[in-house]
């Protein structure tokens, strides 16, 4: 049984010719992210801000958002936000006009105890005929801890990856890989800032997975660069990078495709709860692949690893192997 689709030839794309455009694009995207982060900010979910999220299904017909809002306004628990939604992946919420409603209530003044009373009040105000699908209440103390833990996790992940790459390669590779991964993490945050998508705990999980995936992609290419450095000791570095990128291109495309297939399945069939996660992952694998090709690899050109040291490593390895 032979494969139906085969990439026979190694392509000869001059990636290095495009790398400055790549740098410019990425710098612009990063600047935009940082700008938006400090001006508009992220649309943090209640995991981080604290507050209440209630997902209900009205069992008596289409949801009357205005009436529900009026009932909640009467509670004086801050500005409630109500959002009817249609989710085709579930039988319960597929109806249009929507029967399912997401209710968000802001953080209540008066600490953790005050947060917890809100749900009871809401249940009493909305009355019968309502099915409570999900209730999440996060107090102020937990929210700030989760932000801290999230930032810490991301920083530690990048640090650990840097150390691992440094250990396995030369330090120059470590710098390139960290910059590329940082770029992917930052621009994923940027995606959430631009489209004001809800940024919550699962988004954070997606970002760490993206960091892992992106580094994976970069490592494969760096591995090849290192190998080529040993093989072609006199080839100009620019050509060497191009060669490594072209030789690994079919793998890069195939892998990004299989992961993308899995993520697309999650995006279209995984339901509303996983949507934010899937969007972040999809963007992350695309930007991660892009950054491996146009940032991580070209960066090596500017912080050229010591070819002699790498060649020595190869000779020593060959010697060990021949013994």
């Amino acid at each position: 049984m032979r494969p139906l689709i085969v990439i026979r030839r190694v392509p000869k794309i001059d990636f290095m010719r495009w790398h400055l455009y790549g740098f410019a694009f990425s710098l612009a995207l990063t600047a935009l992210t940082i700008g938006l982060f400090f001006t508009v900010g992220l649309n943090y979910g209640i995991d981080f801000t604290g507050g209440t999220l209630i997902e209900v299904r009205v069992t008596t017909g289409p949801a009357d958002l205005a009436a529900m809002r009026a009932k909640l306004d009467a509670l004086r628990v801050g500005e409630p936000s109500l959002q009817g939604y249609v989710d085709k992946t579930t039988a319960d919420c597929a109806a249009s006009p929507p029967v399912c409603v997401l209710i968000r209530l802001p953080q209540q003044p008066g600490g953790d105890a005050a947060q917890m009373r809100v749900v009871q009040k809401t249940r009493e105000a909305l009355g019968p005929g309502i099915e409570y699908r999900r209730t999440e209440v996060v107090g102020p103390s937990v929210g700030s801890e989760l932000i801290r833990a999230g930032v810490l996790a991301t920083v530690l992940a990048l640090g650990a990856i840097l150390i691992y790459i440094w250990f396995r390669f030369e330090w120059q590779f470590g710098i390139g890989a960290t910059i590329a991964t940082l770029h992917d993490v930052v621009t994923t945050v940027g995606l959430f800032a631009i489209f004001q998508l809800e940024f919550n705990l699962t988004t954070l999980a997606a970002i760490l997975t993206i960091a892992g995936y992106s580094i994976n992609d970069t490592v494969v290419i760096y591995d090849r660069v290192r190998e080529s450095m040993r093989k072609y000791r006199t080839m100009p570095f620019r050509d060497l990078i191009n060669l490594a990128l072209n030789e690994t291109l079919s793998r890069t495309i195939l892998t990004v495709s299989t992961v993308a297939l899995a993520v697309l399945a999650l995006l279209f069939f995984g339901g509303a709860v996983l949507r934010g996660f899937s969007i972040a992952m999809l963007w992350g694998i695309v930007i991660g692949t892009y950054s491996s090709l146009f940032i991580a690899a070209p960066l090596l050109y500017y912080v050229q690893p010591n070819r002699r040291a790498i060649a020595r490593g190869a000779d020593a390895g060959a010697e060990r192997a021949s013994r």
Binding site: P3, L4, V6, R57, T89, T90, C93, G111, D112, M116, V119, Q120, R123, Y132, R133, R134, T135, E136, V137, G139, S141, V142, L146, A149, L152, A153, L156, A157, A160, Y164, T202, L204, A205, T209, A211, G212, Y213, N216, V219, V220, D223, R251, L254, T255, S257, T258, V259, A260, L261, A262, V263, L264, A265, L266, G270, G271, V273, L274, F277, S278
Partner: protein
């Protein structure tokens, strides 16, 4: 490289078979499982609350409040001790986590230090030469109190939740002062929250009739007395209360810790709570009521007076009744709380996440559909691009799936919705190892190597890269597990397990298939 020792073949097949066997129970319903013979594995993947429906509560034991309470009682002993010893003092107060005061006579500092030092061995007393003194709990004592308070709270919470009839609750300690409560199947935790939010500290104290509440509020509060508000349930008996409050003696006649039983019953068609003391409590209650016939005493719950009946005759039977405009629900709640015991410290609810059974079922369905679609797409893709070798990779992928499920079942890991996403994602990433190997083999063939040496080189050369990429993903997974919470932890678990099992299946299982194929068909060319 292309030769497998027999024991290795057996080991690989054995692990795969074990994976299939351990993952099989997940295909059955619990009822069907119960009918299977006992030598068959029975463990299924435990579903997280976001999939099976249920309530997750994160509680914090307010240890500082308990300590403030304790200092509040100690301050009385300090006052009495100094007064009995006729040592002059000023500014006796609780400041933060310490009791502060100033001794007036500098030459009696040593004497004062000795006297108050006897009150509690856990306290360290320091008095400076200017007479200003502080009393603090030593760090060791504070730490052991804290631990004790958290452990006791867990025990009391367990009793309270068990009394509500919740099935299979999980109550565990989290960090230093926190307790994680998971209640499967509970879609409205308001009742549980209300029960957990109450300390339920019960005491019987005498009402001081020598002064009215108004006078006491104006600053004529007799020493050793306190003003306590009436509880909402207790509004009925207004005989000795005015302005919804009572002046009561601080000294506790009998405490709720001496109760052995409490039940909700009816008296004159009104819901009441009947209680029974243990021997010590019964005797103390009998003595106290005998000495105070004709006077009212307050039944105090969490610093609020439920009712203040007048003692008509000594109560010697060791049991009694609390009445005070209860509803049936509030009477049975109070009985439950008294039976389970008082919390050693107040509890705050920091976080609540509740998922209804309907959404849980929807999520399982959506997750399953997404995973099946995802895996199918990957399988088709691999066959399209790699033909026979793609089939090998797909077989390895299916074993990988079994191994993951089996590992999750055996480890007792919890599968959450993000966890399912982790499974789907790992399937997409797992074939990366195969892609790396196959692409490498293609390159070697293109480079003019022979069939065998291309295969060999493909596996050997790709291995380093595969290892690097797996380790980096594993790093992210471990950090997520360490710092994440709830469902995110579930994602981290499946991601990490998936990385490990895919390392095995993508490399060893695929290679074994290729070697077997080589031996049997002796092909002339690689179908890549």
């Amino acid at each position: 490289m292309l030769y497998f020792a027999n024991w290795k073949v057996l080991l690989i097949c054995g692990i795969c078979a074990l994976g299939v066997l351990l993952s099989l129970p997940n295909l059955f319903t619990p009822a069907q499982l119960a009918q299977l013979p006992s030598f068959v594995p029975h463990k299924q993947v435990a579903l997280g609350l976001d999939l099976r429906g249920g309530s997750y509560l994160l509680l914090e034991v307010d240890v500082a409040a308990a300590q403030r309470d304790r200092l509040g009682t100690i301050i009385d002993s300090v006052r009495n001790t100094l007064r009995d010893a006729h040592i002059g003092y000023t500014g006796l107060n609780v400041e933060g986590d310490a009791i502060t005061f100033t001794i007036r006579e500098p030459d009696r500092i040593e004497e004062a230090k000795k006297a108050v030092g006897k009150i509690d061995p856990d306290l360290t007393v320091e008095i400076g030469s200017d007479g200003s003194g502080t009393m603090k709990f030593s760090t060791v004592a504070t730490e052991s109190r804290r631990r004790q308070a958290v452990e006791q709270s867990i025990e009391i919470i367990r009793r309270r939740i068990d009394e509500t009839g919740t099935k299979e609750p999980t109550i565990q300690r989290e960090g230093q002062n926190r307790i994680l409560v998971q209640l499967p199947g509970v879609d409205n935790p308001e009742h549980v929250k209300a029960l957990l939010g109450r300390t339920a500290k019960l005491s019987f104290q005498l009402v001081d009739q020598s002064v009215t509440v108004e006078d006491a509020r104006r600053g004529r509060l007799p020493p050793g007395d306190e003003i306590l508000p009436a509880a909402e349930e207790g509004r009925g008996s207004r005989s000795v209360a005015s302005a919804g409050a009572y002046v009561v003696r601080k000294r506790v006649m009998v405490g709720g810790d001496t109760l052995v039983d409490a039940q909700a019953t009816f008296q004159n068609n009104e819901p009441v709570v009947s209680f029974k003391f243990d021997t010590v409590g019964g005797k103390r209650f009998g003595d106290a009521t005998r000495e105070n016939v004709g006077k009212p005493f307050a039944i105090v719950l969490d610093s609020k007076v439920i009712s203040a009946p007048v003692i008509r005759e000594p109560i010697l039977g060791g049991s009694g009744i609390i009445s005070g405009s209860f509803t049936v629900q509030s009477a049975s709640d109070l009985a439950l709380l008294l039976r389970a015991g008082a919390l050693p410290a107040p509890i705050q609810i920091l976080e609540e996440r509740t998922v209804g059974a309907e959404l849980g079922a929807d999520s399982i369905h959506a997750g399953a559909v997404a995973s099946i679609v995802g895996v199918s797409l990957v399988i088709i893709f691999m066959v399209l691009f790699y033909g026979l070798f793609g089939v090998f990779a797909d077989i390895a992928l299916l074993f990988n799936l079994c191994l993951m499920l089996g590992a999750l079942s055996v480890l007792g890991a919890t599968l959450t919705l993000p966890g399912i996403a982790g499974v789907a994602l790992t399937m997409g990433m797992a074939v990366d190892a195969n892609v790396l190997i196959y692409e490498r083999i293609r390159e070697e063939v293109r480079g003019g190597r022979s069939l065998l040496s291309s295969l060999e080189a493909g596996f050997t050369r790709a291995f380093g890269t595969i290892l690097d990429s797996h380790v980096t993903t594993l790093v992210a997974g471990i950090l997520l597990y360490w710092l994440g919470s709830g469902p995110v932890k579930g994602f981290a678990v499946t991601l990490s397990i998936g990385v490990l099992t895919s390392l095995f299946s993508a490399i060893l299982v695929t290679r074994l298939q290729i070697v077997t194929w080589l031996r049997r068909y002796k092909p002339k060319a690689i179908p890549l």
